[in-house]
Every structure is written in C-alpha cells, then in structure tokens.
C-alpha cells in the first residue's frame, strides 16, 4: 500500500474531483430549497435556482425604475471603481515603502517600528474616523481599503527585499550600480512576482473592507445592495450577488496568477511542488 501523500490524481480525475464538491453543494441546496418550498410556498430563505436566475436576469438587464440604470451593472461599476483605485494606491505605497524599508537601513530604522505598530490597528476601528474626516463619499471607502491592506503589502515586500541574498546587492555594487540602479534593476524586478502574490492574498481583505464600508454608508455598490435588500429577506437577490462577488474575486485572483507566471517565468522554475 502506497502512502497517502504519494497518491496523486491524473488530469481527468483531478477535474472530476474538483467539480465534485461544487455539485454536492448545489444538490444539497436544491434539496433543501425544495423541502422548504413544499412546507411553505412563500418561503424566502432558500429560493429555488429558477427564482434566483429570474431575479438576477431582471437585475442584470432591466433599468431600475428610480435611477434608470441597470442595477447590477451600476453596483458592479461603483464597487469595482472603489476596489481598483484602493488596490492601485495600496500597491504603489506598498511597493515604494516596502522597497525603501527593505533596502535602506536608515529608513528601516526610522519607519520600521512605526509600520509594525500601525499594521496592528484594526482598520475597521478607523472607519468612523474616516467617515468623519473624509465624509460619506467615495474617498472614505477607498481610504479604508488602502489603510486595510497597505501595511500587509509594505511588510511583506520589505521582507521579500530582505530575503534577496546580500551577495546580489554586493555584486550589483561591484558592477558599479548606485542605490537607485540597484533598486531599479535588481530589487524591483525580483520583488514584482511576490507583489502579485501579495496582491492576490490581499483581494479577500480588500473585498471585506469594500463591502463593510458600502454596508454602512453608500448609495450604490455590491455591498450596499445586499445590505439594503436584507431588510426584505430578499435571498433571491443576496445569493446571486454573493455568487457574483465571488466570481469577480475569483477571476481577479486567476488573472493575477496568470500574469505572475506569464511575466515572471524565471521566478517559477521548479521552485514549488505544485
């Protein structure tokens, strides 16, 4: 008998195994939904798939009577705008600060401990302050995402820079590189693959902060919508929205993973088991 850790599935089996849990969840849900409907035809907790598809189709195609916009698209656009701006700003700050902390001992001595302390502040505890300072508009939501994920990015990238062998930095100097040239040609390219990995890990928290801030004060957005219709127990809206949010996050994650492997093939040469 081979050890369990040595038994790996083939290609076809892998696909089948991957689909299995999904199918199982769908089946359990369908059975539960049918069960509840049989007991109470007005049940709202577990709407059947047909009803959810119906509602989702309406939200995705028909303009809202009040605003004249297609609800799902308007919500998605509003949320994605906040998310992408937040991620972009956090990335830029994280990259600049992370590299500076990682390569410049003076900067590390000055700001390292500060970053360490700041990263321990729960970002959600700052949300009231952000609402007070930046108002209830777009800015406070974007700032929450930035505050939420930047400390992680800074620390992660500073550690990545710290993990570059000292030999390489010395080598760069013996090739005549200045600090700036070393950063640009040696450090930055080696940090970029890890930046993308760190961004992938940040997607979850970023969505968390987005939806939280939208839930509290917004007039459009994916988080705003699900918290709005919660009052009417509109599970036929909430569940498709949750699925849609998940799909967006999943596709973003996949795209980043592909980007990392495509653009930085040198970093993935047999480095990992899977």
């Amino acid at each position: 008998m081979r050890r369990a850790m040595n038994i790996a599935p083939g290609r076809g089996t892998r696909l089948l195994l991957a689909l299995l849990p999904f199918l199982l969840i769908v089946c359990v849900y369908a059975l539960g939904s049918a069960d509840r409907r049989a007991a109470n035809p007005d049940d709202k907790l577990l709407p059947p798939f047909a009803e959810m598809a119906d509602t989702a189709g309406r939200l995705a195609t028909e303009p809202d009577r009040r605003t004249g916009e297609i609800t799902l698209l308007a919500d998605t656009a509003a949320s994605l705008q906040r998310l992408v701006i937040g991620l972009a700003v956090a990335t830029l700050i994280g990259l600049a600060l992370g590299i500076a902390l990682g390569i410049l001992p003076m900067i590390d001595a000055t700001f390292g401990p500060l970053v360490g302390v700041l990263s321990m502040i729960p970002p959600m505890a700052l949300l009231p302050i952000l609402f007070i300072v930046f108002g209830l508009g777009e800015l406070s939501k974007v700032v929450l995402i930035v505050i939420g994920i930047t400390p992680f990015l800074v620390r992660d990238l500073a550690m990545t820079v710290g993990a570059i062998p000292g030999e390489q930095l010395v080598k760069a100097q013996t090739l005549g590189a200045s600090t700036w040239q070393t950063v640009l040609r040696v450090v930055l390219p080696q940090v970029l693959p890890r930046l993308i990995e760190a961004l992938r890990l940040s997607l979850g928290p970023a969505f968390l902060f987005l939806i939280s801030s939208e839930a509290i004060a917004a007039d459009a957005g994916l988080g705003y919508r699900i918290f709005l219709v919660r009052r009417y127990l509109a599970m036929d809206v909430i569940l498709p929205y949750v699925a849609w949010i998940t799909l967006i996050a999943f596709v973003m994650d996949l795209a980043l993973a592909r980007l990392a492997r495509g653009a930085f093939a040198w970093a993935y040469d047999g480095a990992r088991r899977r």
Binding site: E167, K171, T174, S178, R185, D269
Partner: protein, 270 residues
C-alpha cells in the same frame, strides 16, 4: 596597476579577535590564493578588500590610496553562490555591468549604445564558453555554468582586483578543472590582481602565483576569542619550489620554529 598593501590590520568583533597584526604587500597582477581552516578569517580578509568590512585597526591601500569603504567597480567579486541575478538572462547579467555605467537613471541602454554593449557582452560570454546559452535564465544553467557567468559578469567591469570567494567549492572535480583552465588565461589576459579564497590546497598551489595561509597560532581555552588568526605561511609559487616570501610574523610566547617546517608541495598537499 593594482597593488594591495595591508599595514598592521586587526579585525575584531567586540571581544572576539578575528585577524591580528596582518601585514602584506600584494604586487599588481599576482594571483594570490588564500587557505586556512574554517573560521580563520579568510573570508573576512576577502570582505575587507571588497569593502564590505572595515579593519578595526590598520590600513588597507589599493595602489597607495585607502580602499573605499564600500564595494565598487574597481573590485570584482565571484561568490560561491547567489552571484548572478536570477531575473536576468545570461546576456542580461553581463550587460548589466555596462548599463549601470552608461545609464545612471534608467540603468538600461537603448539603440546603438545597447548594440555596442551587447557586442562587448557577447565577447565575454563567448570567452567563458556560454555562447550557446546566452538567452537562458540562470535557473536553467548548471552550477559550473553559473560560475562562468559570474566570472564573465565581473570581467565586464575590467576590475583592478578580482576577488573569488570559494568560487568552485560547490562544483564537481571535473567541472572544477575546466574552471581552472578557463580562469588562468583570463587572468593573464586582463592583467588584474586576483585574490582567491579556497579550501582546496591543490587548487591553491596549482592556480596561484602566491599562497597565503591564515591560522590561529595562540589559543586560550578560557577565552576562545582572545587571539585571532595570523598570517602563517606566505609562499611564492612562481619559483621551482614554493619559497617563503617574507619572514612570517610570530607570536612571542610561541616556541616552534618558523619556515623550516614547510613540507608543502602540490604533490603532498591533497
């Protein structure tokens, strides 16, 4: 010209003395091999010449001027590992040396300047026998090929001094012999001073024009850090037999006599 002068250099880490009373004159164009047991300060000496470390006392001069306190393009280095940039191809690794010098802000060359630099790089890549692999990343190269690349990279700056820190320590004997055949003509051709730290005595005698050995002559069991390593052997290898270069500095209370106990010869050494 690239003569190195070491005058009464001591290296101490706190209470621990690593090197003591080091005096050396290395002539321009010599190939100096440095041997000694682990922890005797060979690498410390190399790092000092490199500019990564500073002597606690004493002076280090390159052509009569104090050595800069940080690594620079006048001193090339090949480490045992991690010498090449993993994110650049073979060509990119060699090209980098030319690009740093010519493009202070972008560190990248374009157009005609780039073509010239690529030509010069290709020449070096061919010289170390990597022409067929010029577009590969280091992860696709064997250990020996990576060291060849590191040498080509260092030669791009035409350094006065080339420092080698156990460069072939991780290679198999066959590859090591190839590297020796590669290195010697390159050293002659570029006319630079080479300082090579090695554990392999045969290599040290075979390659060098001068061999220096560090070792701790005195030992205090109560305070292992009290005494540092000194220069114990300094041999001229260009004569018919290895000949002591200068009287070796001795510790006062140390009684065993000096250079007459030198049975070192390549045939006996490994």
């Amino acid at each position: 010209m690239s003569a190195i002068t070491v005058r009464d250099v001591w290296v101490e880490y706190g209470d621990q003395i690593v090197l003591e009373a080091l005096n050396l004159d290395i002539a321009s164009g010599s190939f100096v091999t440095v041997v000694g047991p682990s922890g005797c300060g060979k690498s410390t000496f190399l790092r000092m010449v490199l500019g990564q470390e500073r002597p606690t006392r004493g002076r280090l001069l390159l052509d009569g001027a104090p050595l800069p306190a940080e690594p620079g393009p006048d001193r090339g280095i090949v480490f045992q590992r991690y010498s090449v940039f993993p994110h650049l191809t073979v060509l990119g690794n060699v090209l980098a040396g030319f690009e740093f010098a010519a493009s202070p802000w972008l560190g990248t060359l374009f157009g005609a300047a780039r073509r010239r630099a690529v030509e010069a790089s290709d020449e070096l890549i061919t010289a170390v026998g990597l022409a067929a692999h010029r577009d590969k990343y280091p992860s696709a190269l064997s250990g020996g090929m990576q060291q060849r690349l590191a040498i080509a990279q260092a030669l791009a700056k035409n350094p006065k001094v080339l420092l080698l820190d156990e460069p072939f320590g991780a290679l198999d004997p066959g590859t090591r012999a190839q590297m020796h055949d590669l290195l010697k003509p390159l050293w002659r051709q570029h006319g630079m001073t080479v300082i090579m730290v090695t554990h392999d005595l045969k290599e040290a005698f075979g390659l060098g024009t001068r061999l220096i050995a560090f070792d701790k002559l005195r030992h205090d069991p109560q305070a292992p850090g009290r005494y540092g390593a000194r220069l114990t052997y300094d041999l001229d290898l260009t004569r018919r037999r290895p000949t002591p270069v200068a009287p070796v500095p001795r510790a006062n209370q140390d009684s065993h006599s000096g250079t007459s106990t030198l049975p070192l010869h390549p045939r006996h050494s490994t």
